[in-house]
Each structure stands twice: as C-alpha cells, then as structure tokens.
Symmetry: C2
Subunit: 424 residues, 2 copies
C-alpha cells in the first residue's frame, strides 16, 4: 500500500469515503468487542483447574516444616512456597515474602510504608514535593498509585531496550526524585525487555536520595509466548556487584500463571528491606492465606511445573498475538501511519498511530462497539504527549472476535489518519 | 479456703513452702505448655475440612451474578458472599466489602488511609499529636496498630458492661481524640459483651473531632460457647437513629469459623465510608480472592450454615473453658487473690491476680515451661497499671494439657500472692 503522506488530496478523500463505508458497515452490525484489559481468557483459567482438586478433606495440610497451613502463623509464607518464588526470581528464599492475591497490593503497601515511615530517610510525606520517574508508556495502575499518593510523575522515554537511562541518570541527581516503577520484562504495554546494559545501569544508579527505590514489577517474568523468549538479567545479581540491593523491590505473582482471581504474590528484596517489610506486615496481618500457598506448590511442584504451565498458556496466547500483529501488517505495511512491536511475551501489543490520532481512534472504536484501554491511560496523568499510543490486550477475546476487533481497529486508525491529513 | 489476706505470717510461710514444693515438682517434669494465643486447635480446623472438597475442577466457578470468580474483577466481593456477611452483621449487602484473609489488615489499612488521606478532615498525619481511646484490657494487636502509627493511647476502664462511657463521653470533647478500637462482643480478653446502654451511648457520641472513628471489631460476632449466649445490639441500627453511621467501621472474619490461616474477612460501613474504602482499594488491588469467597459460600450456604458450624466449635471449646474456670474456682474460691469471668463466648478467660503480681506470675510460669500471653500485652504500651491482668487462651491445647497448665498457673498465682503478702 502507498504511504498515506504521499497520497494526493483526492486519493485521501476517496480512501476516506471507502473507509467510512466500511466503518458504517461494521457499526451497523452492532458488535460488542473488547481489547481493553490484560485478562486471561476462560481457556487459560481452565488450565489451572486441577489446582482445585489438589487439596481435599483428606489432605495432609502441613507445610514442609510441619507448620499447620490452616492455622495462624508463618507470616513470610510456607517454606516450599517461598522457595518456589525464590527459584522463579533467582534469589535466596530468605529474601522472599509470599503475600496475598495481588502484587499490586505489595506495591501499594510498600509506597504507603515509604510515605508514612520512610525507607532509610524521613517519611516521604514529610519531605515536601517528591517525584517518581515514569518510563512511559507504562502500566496505568503504577501511575494510579503515584497519583493517589500525590507523588509527582515525570515522563521518561521508553527506548527499544528499556527506559532512557541517560535521562534517568540525570534526574536521580535531584534528591526529591524518590523512585521509579518499571516492568522490566515484556513491559506493559510495549512488550520490551530491558537489555543487559539497561539492567546494569539500573544497578549502578547513584541517586542523590538515599531513600530512592526501584519497584521492579516482574509481572511477566515467565510469560513467554513463543520459542524466542527474551532474557532478562537478574537485577539482584547485578545490584550485588554494585552494593545497591537496597534500591530494588521486586514483585511477581501467579495471577497469570494460575488464577487471576485467586493467585498468590511475592516480594523479593534485600535483607534490610525484607526486615522493614516484615516489621510492618507483622502489625498488618497474622499470616497470608497459607492454604492457597500450599495449593499452588502441591499443584505446580516446582519451577519446571510452572514452566510447563506457561507453555500451555503460550499455545493459547500465541495465535491471538499473531492475529493482532498479522492484522496490523496486512493493514498498515507500507502506509507509514502506524508502528508496533511483535513481542515475545507479556500481555500486550503496543500500537503507535499517527501523532494526534490516538484519541480519535479510541472514540471511533468506542462508537462502533469496540472497547480499548482508555487512550492516554498508558501515560502519567492519562496524558499521552503525542496522542499516539494504543494498548491492545489480545488475551481475553477469542480469535474470531479478535479478528473482527483488529479489522475494525485498523479501519479506525486509517480513517483517523485520513481525517488528520485532510485537515492539514 | 481461707482469704490469703487474713492469714498470719506463719500460715503464709507454710503455704508458700508447700507451693514452692508443688511448683518445683511441676517444673522438674519439664512441661511445655502454651495458653498464649487465641488459635483454634486441630479439631476445630478439621471441622471445616469439607470446604476443601466443595470446589473441584468440574465446578461451576461463576458467582450468582455470572461473574467468573477465577478471573480479575468484582472488587467488593461476589454478591452471595457480601450477602452472607451482611446477614452475619445485620446490614445491607451494599454496605459490605469482602476482603482478604484478615480483618486485621482491614483495620490497619483503614487507619493508614486516615493517616495519609483523612476521613472527613485533614489527614491525621497532618493534625499533630492525635489520640485514641483504648478500653483496657484489650486486644494487643489493636494497640500494636496505634503504636505503629504513633497515635497516643489513652487507657479507658472496662466495666462489666463495656468501656466506661462516662469517661469516653468526656474525652471525645477533645478534638485531637480521633477514635477507638473495641471488641463489642465477647471482648478480648474479658469476654464482656457491651450492654444495650453502652451500645446506645456509643451511637449517641458527639465527638468534637468530625473525623472520629470507632473500629467495631466484631471478631467474635457468632462465637458463643454455651446455651446462654450474649446478645449485642446492632450498632448500625442504633447509629441510624442518631445519624452517626459514618462514625462506625465494623469488621469481622471467618478466621475462627473456617480456617484461621485461609479465611475471608469483611468490613461493614456507611455508604460514604464504603465509597472511601473502595476508592482507596481500587488503587490497591484488582480483586480479593474470589475463589475462596465462592468456596466459603458454597460450603456454609447461609447464616444457618455458619450457626451450625459454630455449634460444633462450641462443643470443642466449652470443655476447655470449663477446665479453666473450674480450675480457677477450685484453686481460688474463698482466697480473695484472684477474680475472673465465665464468658459465654469468645476466645479468652481474663484472670485478675493480686495487684502487682501478674508479671511475677508470668515469670514463674515461663520458668516452669508454661507460655502465657505476655503479661501487660493486654494494655496500651504493654503496661498494665495494676500489674494484675493475665489473658488465658484455652482453645489451642487439649483438655489434658490445659488441666496441667491451669494447675501450674494456679500454683504460680498463689505463690506470687504469698510472696507479695510476706514482703508487705
């Protein structure tokens, strides 16, 4: 197809009216399509159904250390479950605390703890205006936490190998810059995995603030979708070389391994940080759900068990990702009006449309019955400075529905591009 | 037995040496006894084992509104589980949010929210020194939360029908007094249930602080142990009459109904407070463990199912409570050195020994191999002004062990009394 920007006004007008007809034809069918949230689909949930059978009224409910999982106690988690997460994150089990259903809660609670009590300095609430660096586009719920706590957000450009480290190294010279959330593997939404150099530069950061924290949200730590998975350096291995372990708080969960609605989560951190987290947690809870911890370990057994499960997830997800990226190729190759990546894992495809067109695309999709992640949500304060990024979540719809959704989306992207070029 | 205070010095000395011999005989057997924590015992945990069978890989995992419990979503809880807790607390299900494994977390998070964001006024952290009223003796973990957040604790006397309301009504005239934790039914440790008058006076409180909150920790809401259970007025019914619903945050859990290590908890509050709690929670978590909610509702079915379960708990607990109170009667009747109540429910017997003797009793017990709740822990800052209260948790040991523990405890109480009277 011809580059849109090389088309004459007449060509654009003709294309626009053809697209409008296609759009109206779609709309008239009254579709209800949704590519908005990174939710597993039913087939993925069914993969873990065996977990519901693994414990029964006749099960031995003791953990490996003899602890009765049905009773109080065991705040850091049962030993075999700590070990499973330790193996997953590549750390020592003493540096792992297993928590409740959501790693989001771990992150929220950690920031709350820093706000009220600090983390090696004055409480953040008592330090006046503080700031976080926000690689963007990023995960809307990270930005949500920061907004909630009134922490100023500074956009950081995402490069192909991770956040722009030049800019981060510059910003951390400011003592009021207190931290950063990131998704280092298969980033949300770009699907980028941080390069070895980026990880090493993170580990080597020398922030002016002694209470600077990087929340290393390893949400897609083992969530490959094909046979060419990305590899991420172990942040704690690199941090140890630099003596910067206290700077990193890593979290992950089984939300997209077992059940999104009934998984378990874990945090990995330095000895000092784990102590601070447990000191707080011991006031907050007697123990997390240890029966669910036991259920997970008895079901998955070990890291190989999780890997085998993730291969099954990949079988389900890969065709969906291909539906999206093939649809994009078919519609946009040669047009110059959109770019995207074909990620090797994670939950999203990140589409960049012509600058100034993303909101219009979102509106067109919505009017025709296709729900997308709110355009702009992938940026701090919901403002995409280029109005270009659209996060596509292919996991929940089935392939047939997805094909329709992608087709409609592509029509909207082209239509918005025509409108834009014609009003120039 | 003769009143100790009427004994001559010789009589006391004789008794003391007899008690010392009994004590040493006990100690020499090297017992390992524990009456320290309100933990269910194995037989109680086994009562709910059927819950582990209620969901299987072939179960319909949809909630009553069609929501897929295994997936994200449904922050306030699945409808039938909200209804179950609503029936338990006697409120509308729209005023209930079902949470994770611990009501302690709900309370901690609520106080954290008030500290950072406030509840109808400035954030508590920005109001200088703030205070909580602490009916004492009380639950050590309530005091733990207050100490953690640096909230000043003021002791309030516990009368036979609940906290001393005269004193509370006086203290709330101070704007810096922001709230109060209490266990209104089968209070921890006294086993007292607030009288109708006390509940009505709570509802009618007119605190100077517009952001005053009563955390109504209904931990033993349905935890009767005999056929003469206490009745507690519904706080929200009374508050509605006074227009004071916003003042009360009620919590409860299934920790001592199903599994202490894998239960579910819930909060009930006014429309405005539920909105504020959900506004915060939506940043903190996508949804709590809905599969465990479904498991609980499918197992208990309704409030009658819970009541039937609690009757089974009572069968196990009643003999244990009787072992303690009968042991006390046998040892102390007529001595004038100890008093206690025979509670109709809850998890504790609260023993008051001679003033100035509780710590000594704790030490004697410890030295002989009996662990008690740390003496003083039932008071703010761990300081019992009378050094008199000892919290007895009879649930965990079996009856035989309990008999020994009570016998040893009684020896220690008498011995400490002799020592005290002889040094006067």
């Amino acid at each position: 197809m011809k580059q849109f920007c090389e088309m004459s006004e007449d060509e654009l007008k003709k294309m626009k009216s053809e697209l409008e007809a296609e759009y109206e034809a779609f709309k008239s069918k009254g579709p209800k399509l949704d590519m908005s949230r990174g939710k597993p689909n039913k087939a993925q949930l069914d993969l873990a159904n065996g977990m519901l059978d693994v414990l029964s009224s006749s099960s031995d409910m003791k953990a490996s250390d003899g602890m009765e999982t049905r009773n109080y106690g065991g705040l850091p988690g049962i030993p075999e479950c700590r070990q499973l997460f330790a193996d997953l994150m590549g750390v020592d089990s003493k540096n792992v605390v297993v928590c409740g259903a959501a790693s989001l809660t771990i992150m929220y609670d950690y920031i709350a703890q820093c706000m009220i009590f600090g983390c090696g300095g004055e409480p953040w609430m008592k330090q006046g205006n503080i700031k976080f660096l926000c690689p963007a586009p990023g995960y809307d719920r990270h930005f949500g936490i920061l907004k909630h706590f009134g922490i100023e957000m500074i956009n950081i450009k995402m490069n192909d190998d991770g956040p722009d480290m030049d800019s981060i190294e510059e910003y951390v010279k400011d003592k009021s810059v207190k931290g950063l959330f990131c998704v280092p593997k298969y980033s949300n939404p770009d699907g980028i995995t941080f390069s070895d150099e980026v990880v090493r530069r993170f580990a080597a950061l020398k922030p002016a603030a002694e209470d600077f924290r990087v929340i290393w949200d390893n949400a897609y730590i083992i969530h490959d979708i094909n046979d060419t998975p990305d590899e991420l350096l172990n942040i704690f291995d690199e941090a140890k070389k630099q003596g910067s372990e206290d700077m990193f708080i890593e979290v992950c969960s089984t939300s997209k391994i077992s059940f999104a609605g009934a998984g378990i989560s874990a945090v990995a951190a330095s000895d000092a940080n784990i102590k601070a987290i447990l000191d707080r947690m011991t006031i907050q809870i007697i123990s997390h759900d240890k029966v669910n911890q036991l259920r997970h370990v008895r079901y998955f057994k070990n890291l190989d068990g999780i890997k085998a499960q993730m291969k099954k997830h990949a079988e389900i997800l890969r065709p969906k990702f291909e539906t999206v990226t093939n649809g994009f190729s078919k519609a946009f190759d040669g047009t110059g009006i959109a770019r995207w990546k074909n990620p090797n894992g994670g939950y999203f495809v990140s589409l960049y449309v012509m600058n100034g067109c993303a909101k219009r695309v979102g509106q067109l999709c919505k009017d025709a019955g296709l729900t997308l992640t709110t355009v702009g949500a992938t940026y701090p304060y919901g403002i995409d400075p280029d109005d270009s990024n659209i996060r596509i979540a292919p996991s929940f719809p089935d392939v047939e529905e997805l094909e329709k959704a992608v087709e409609l989306l592509c029509i909207c992207v082209k239509l918005a591009a025509c409108e834009k070029l014609l009003t120039k």
